[in-house]
């Protein structure tokens, strides 16, 4: 079957009918792979009432073809109808490669589909390449808490599927005049049944979802007590950053669990991580060491976090943070 499989596909994600940033990061990857393999690049979008401008943007950013599968039942992610639609598309078009974001959606849908499609799947890749001749996708991902990288191949099975860590590539930019084919499909009802129903949604109180943020300020136990959280929150606000926390901070009830970064919390890859009073335990590093830039403030010059930092500030965070805020504001690079 591998002989006929062709084409690079990305799974674009929509949230309230608008496409998310990770969709465009995937296009950056897809454009590279498709060029190398001289293949067509398709963006698959599943949702309801998708915004036309968004679909056009996918073509402007590099998709040769957009397949939008739309139905009211697809408005929100539910694994069964989404998987049924995707499997139908795989069966019909036989793509060689399908990549999706390593998001809560991608990390649920892709394994569900891969099992049924007899496809190999690699989780949370940070580097992707393709063999020009064989079409084998070289999928590289961090393993053992980011201490090593492993490259994985799927030699005999097609499609080759991978989820890609958000923020591991810049989003593709539109090129003026670039267009492509847009196909809108209403799937038959038999694909839409679900044994699961969405009963509601409770938005997190913070304005910045941790995993989407370009900058994250993480609070460690060095903050001392709950009453001091505003010190870090003020810095986060001024920088337009999301607020994260170590497990010790969450376990003490100083910040809620959705803020937790690390092995038993979220994995983040922001452009900038700023740790305040974070020691840098191996479990915490597992969730943040692939951040692009790391600044750490710690009173202890031997703190483990300094091993992965780009800038290591040895000092009391209660001196450093106000000084930093004052400086950034004086230079007009921070709000407030």
């Amino acid at each position: 079957m591998s002989a006929e499989a062709a084409g690079i596909w990305i799974l674009a994600e929509s949230s309230s009918s608008a496409l998310t940033r990770v969709s465009f990061e995937l296009l950056t990857r897809g454009v590279e792979l498709a060029a190398k393999r001289s293949a067509q690049l398709t963006a698959l979008v599943i949702g309801h009432d998708l915004d036309k401008a968004g679909l056009n943007r996918l073509t402007a950013c590099g998709a040769d073809r957009v397949i939008a599968v739309e139905a009211p039942a697809l408005e929100h992610f539910l694994v069964e109808p989404y998987a049924a639609v995707m499997l139908k598309m795989i069966e019909k078009h036989r793509p060689e490669v399908i990549i999706a974001g390593a998001t809560s959606l991608g990390r649920t849908l892709m394994p569900y589909v891969a099992a049924k499609a007899d496809a190999g799947l690699t989780a949370d890749c940070t580097i992707l390449d393709i063999d020009r001749d064989t079409g084998n996708l070289l999928q590289t991902r961090p393993a053992i808490g980011g201490n090593i990288l492993a490259t994985i191949k799927t030699p005999r099975h097609r499609p080759q599927m991978a989820t890609v860590r958000p923020h591991s590539a810049p989003p593709a930019e539109p090129r003026e005049g670039r267009t492509g084919e847009i196909i809108r499909i209403s799937p038959p009802d038999e694909l839409l049944s679900s044994r699961m129903r969405r009963t509601g949604f409770k938005r997190e109180e913070s304005d910045h979802p941790l995993q989407d943020a370009e900058t994250v300020v993480v609070v460690g136990r060095g903050i001392g007590r709950k009453e001091n959280i505003p010190v870090a929150a003020e810095l986060a606000d001024a920088l337009g950053a999301a607020l994260g926390a170590t497990r010790d901070v969450v376990d003490r009830g100083w910040l809620s669990y959705p803020h937790q970064v690390g092995l038993s919390g979220k994995t983040i890859t922001p452009k900038l991580y700023i740790g305040l009073g974070v020691s840098g335990s191996i479990q915490h590093l597992a969730g943040m060491q692939t951040s692009q830039n790391i600044i750490a403030v710690n009173i202890d010059p031997d703190a483990q976090i300094f091993r992965v930092a780009d800038a290591a500030i040895v000092g009391d965070l209660f001196d450093v943070v106000p000084a930093l805020l004052a400086r950034a504001r004086a230079m007009g690079v921070a709000d407030g």
Partner: protein
Amino acid sequence: MRIIVLVKQVPETGAVKMDEETGTMVRAGVEAIVNPLDLYAVEAALALKETQGAEVTAVSMGPPAAAKALREVIAMGVDAGVLVSDSAFAGSDTWATGYTLAAAVRRLKGADLILCGERATDGDTGQVGPQTASFLDLPVATYVSSIDAVTTGHIRVSRLVEEGYEGLDISLPALITVVKEVAEPRLPTLGGKKRARNADIPVWTADDLDVDPGRIGLDGSPTRVVKIFRPQVARKAEMIRAEDESEAAAAAGRVVEFMTDRGLL
């Protein structure tokens, strides 16, 4: 109700050392523990056992030594354990693992609810739960942060996604993977430890399961690890002293400069 919890034995993360020469993991002398993220699933199962009445069976796939992981969760209150173990399963990727675990679940005649940790701390993929569900053709909810209600044939859960919590009503049987917020794992009891020591843990091999030999182990796995290497980005931290207020001001200046240089502001 009948509950199955899937647990994996993993090396203790804090203890994992890297061989700097070869870039491989030194496993020797590293303690094997129950995947810490599976303990949340075990606890969620035991809480349901208390509130709803349930029979909880833990299933683990791994080497013979993984029986220890099963004894550990029996000591917490799990009723029974089954070890899926055969050299024919060695080298399984997540696809083959899900396929094999699904066969083990079938041999147990299924369950109303299957619980898994969000991912294992060694492989770190989070794929086995959803793949097992897919092979069993069950609905799956991942990242479950609370089990809000269990009624006849249904379960209501909240799942933690990027922007908040999503509520779901799922018809049973189903598989869910849970995150830390779902429950604080209890400690084993003395009575539990005694029961665990005496527990009979059946070992199921490939012959005991309805599996296609071409779909298990390394041969049955679609993916292959072709290379393992150390990330090159060895960061070299610039040390900035800020041990008093004037140093702090200077340090702040340096940090802002650093952020500006790297286009971070």
